[in-house]
């Protein structure tokens, strides 16, 4: 029982971290109908920027307070993400208005290559460290009730908290404001949105910047967990089932989907995995999502897919 709880908590927290990445996908999809495969690359890029600036800032300025250095690095990294957003709008999306989803998706894969190459050129391809002072050692709960207690990673707990807070704030912002409505309009029909004067370019820069911000936060959290290196971009693959399970267009869906996937994959790996030889969590997550989709093809909270003649 104690172990079950541990696995459950572990799954919930892993799920929260997936949500954080899934959020980036959802934001961009909602606002432009683009399925942004570059989200992983953005996470890596943001984390690299953060890690390297945190290293360079003290060298450049001689500041030796860690907090100050991290803070400046954070701002610089965020500035980088805004520039990235601007560049993407200016040179890629702005030129692909009104194209089909799959073309846009491929364009984001192109962006992925570019960002990967660029990030590594500028920031290097070694392993870097993000140290924002997250505690690494575990804590134990319910030590009275269960033998050995129930273990929870402190780092995970904090990360999950931050992720949850961010998701909630963004969900509110995008659901409750007029901008949110305009964004959904853009995703539905680029041309019609243009025709009534919604400035696609400005909107896109904003949304991609916000997605860049989400990527940066995800990058910091994942980066301090994994170390900042190329493989960080691969965690995006783990967020994909979350996105479709929750629904491509739903911010709350990203949270719920994340939790479901996180719990589902951890429990399956721990309880079913050994029977099958282990290593099943990655495909299990997808199969889980697939199962839900068969019932609700638009994901749990996604907008209904419209087909009408």
């Amino acid at each position: 029982m104690g172990f079950f709880l541990e696995t459950l908590f572990g799954g919930l927290m892993a799920g929260m971290l997936y949500s954080l990445i899934a959020l980036g996908f959802v934001l961009i999809f909602k606002a432009s109908g683009v399925f942004n495969f570059a989200q992983g690359a953005m996470v890596l890029f943001a984390a690299l920027a953060m890690a390297r600036f945190a290293e360079w800032v003290p060298q450049w300025t001689g500041i030796d307070s860690k907090i100050a250095a991290n803070l400046i690095a954070f701002c610089l990294a965020m500035a980088c993400m805004v520039v990235v957003a601007w560049v993407i709008e200016r040179f890629v999306l702005g030129k692909l208005v009104n194209q089909e989803g799959i073309t846009l998706l491929m364009a984001t894969l192109g962006i992925t290559y570019f960002l990967d190459g660029f990030g590594q050129t500028v920031f290097g391809s070694d392993i870097y460290k993000i140290d924002v002072g997250m505690p690494k050692d575990p804590i134990f709960l319910f030590e009275k009730t269960f033998e050995g207690g129930v273990l929870i990673g402190q780092e995970d707990l904090i990360a999950a908290g931050i992720a949850a807070a961010l998701v909630v704030v963004l969900a509110l912002f995008f659901q409750k404001t007029a901008t949110g409505r305009a964004l959904r309009a853009v995703a539905d029909d680029h041309q019609a949105a243009q025709s009534i004067g919604i400035p696609l370019n400005r909107i896109w820069v904003i949304v991609w910047s916000v997605a860049g911000f989400a990527a940066l936060v995800a990058g910091i959290i994942w980066g301090s967990k994994l170390g900042v290196q190329f493989s960080l971009s691969q965690v995006a693959l783990k967020a994909l089932p979350v996105v479709i399970l929750g629904g491509l267009t739903s911010v709350p869906g990203a949270i719920i989907g994340g939790l479901l996937i996180g719990v589902g994959e951890k429990l399956s790996e721990v309880y079913i995995g050994p029977l099958l030889g282990g290593g099943i969590e990655i495909w299990f997550a997808y199969v889980l999502a697939l199962g839900f989709l068969l019932v609700r093809p638009q994901g749990l909270f996604g907008e209904k897919i419209i087909d009408r003649v």
Binding site: G11, Q120, L226, G227, Q229, S231, Q234, G277
Partner: protein, 415 residues
């Protein structure tokens, strides 16, 4: 025009495994530079070209095809996947492959794998040495009975290599073996470590590569598994694996491919003086002498010594062919004196190969991370030949049967 021997250098300086690939590549290239700085091999200078594989098999094959055409006489694929693919191609092209510390374990059998050279050790050697070390700590093989050992491995041919040997040993000595695969690249291991926490194995063997290693250590820390009970393969025992975990990895052990971090080796000093000193170093100066750097260095040295040996037989100062290179690698006789002369004193033990034995040495030792650097913490072990030999032979025979290959005739070993 000066005579030049061409060395292809397959590397990965980008992608998921770059942090590990880069120091290896720098060590490899620095050593070739050093040889040239010292006038080449009997006057034959070495030319080389890097080719980026990104650890991907198809790009590796492309590199092979491209560089083969430039007169390559030995390849070091530095990836188990590429090794597998090239094993099929090398015999036709008559180019030997050196896979120092990786590749297929059964390729130690030179009679079947005529062009493969897993010099200095295979994964079976690594696994056997680790188990010997653990047994010794416990106070003998018999003490392992009823103990539990978990193998956390990279879910790929590389990670699966040690399984036959470990399984064999567990049968022999009656310890429980728990197999825990980690899906590549290994960024998400929470479930694995929860399982470790649940079953509380006495030891964990870590067969990881790249990001999987540091993640494993971090998860071990987060689930409270003692790092000093963890033993890594030599690809999980270098600086990039522990660097960003730092204190969290204190006490973690790994088997070495003979060498560890060797800042004091003569050859390292030589490189610092002659190459870095002249501003021609390939990578940053601080990295010289680190574990993976040394592995690259060692790999290059083995190739160069193969060439030197071949020249001894086929004519000093000549550019040799692939077949001659194979002869050289098959007749390596690096005794202590030669090693000392090359600046490898204390870094490794003598190596001697034959056409039957393409591995040349099966010694290894263990080193431990103290939070800042790697220190040796054990004596030398030799893998148990009586166990390994039959396993190698059986596996090689199976391969030969599948491929309808003939074992090499004794006569073929002569010249």
């Amino acid at each position: 025009q000066a005579k030049e021997q061409f060395f292809p250098v397959l590397v990965y300086r980008t992608g998921a495994y770059a942090p590990n690939g880069v120091p290896w590549a720098n060590g490899y290239v620095d050593y070739l530079k050093l040889i040239n700085a010292k006038g080449g091999v009997n006057g034959v200078k070495i030319s080389y070209e890097e080719c980026e594989t990104g650890y991907a098999t198809d790009r590796g094959v492309e590199c092979y095809e491209r560089l083969k055409g430039k007169g390559a006489t030995v390849f070091q694929p530095l990836s188990t996947g590429i090794t597998f693919a090239l094993t099929e191609k090398a015999p036709a092209d008559k180019i030997p492959l050196i896979t120092a510390g990786y590749g297929r374990s059964e390729s130690a059998d030179g009679n079947v794998f005529k062009w493969n050279f897993p010099l200095l050790g295979t994964y079976w050697v690594a696994a056997d040495v680790l188990l010997q070390h653990i047994a010794k700590k416990e106070g003998g093989w018999d003490k392992l009975k009823g103990k539990k050992i978990a193998l956390v491995y990279h879910d790929s041919p590389f990670g699966k290599e040690p399984i036959p040997l470990v399984t064999e040993r567990s049968k022999m000595h009656g310890f429980d073996l728990q197999l825990l695969p980690v899906t590549a690249p290994g960024v998400e291991q929470k479930a694995t470590w929860l399982q470790v926490r649940q079953s509380r194995p006495d030891y964990v063997l870590l067969w990881g590569w790249g990001v999987m290693n540091s993640t494993a250590l971090k998860e071990a820390q987060a689930t409270g598994y003692p790092r000093d009970k963890m033993y890594g393969v030599w690809w999980a025992g270098a600086e990039p694996d522990v660097k960003d975990v730092a204190d969290g990895a204190k006490g973690y052990n790994a088997v070495t491919m003979q060498h560890g971090a060797e800042p004091n080796a003569a050859v390292v000093k030589e490189i610092l003086a002659q190459i870095h000193g002249k501003g021609q170093g390939t990578g940053p100066k601080e990295e010289v002498g680190s574990v993976l750097y040394m592995r690259g260095l060692l790999s290059a040295m083995l190739a160069v010594e193969g060439m030197r040996r071949a020249q001894e037989n086929y004519g000093k100062g000549k550019v040799i062919t692939g077949e001659q290179m194979r002869w050289g690698l098959e007749n390596l006789a690096l005794d202590q004196k030669k090693l000392d002369a090359l600046g490898f004193a204390g870094v490794m033990r003598p190596v001697s190969t034959s056409c039957k034995d393409h591995m040349g040495s099966s010694w290894a030792r263990v080193h431990t991370w103290d939070g800042a650097k790697w220190n040796f913490t054990s004596d030398w072990y030799q893998a148990d030949e009586s166990l390994l030999k039959p396993m190698v032979k059986a596996a090689a025979d199976k391969y030969a049967a599948e491929k309808k290959l003939e074992r090499r005739a004794a006569a073929d070993c002569g010249a």
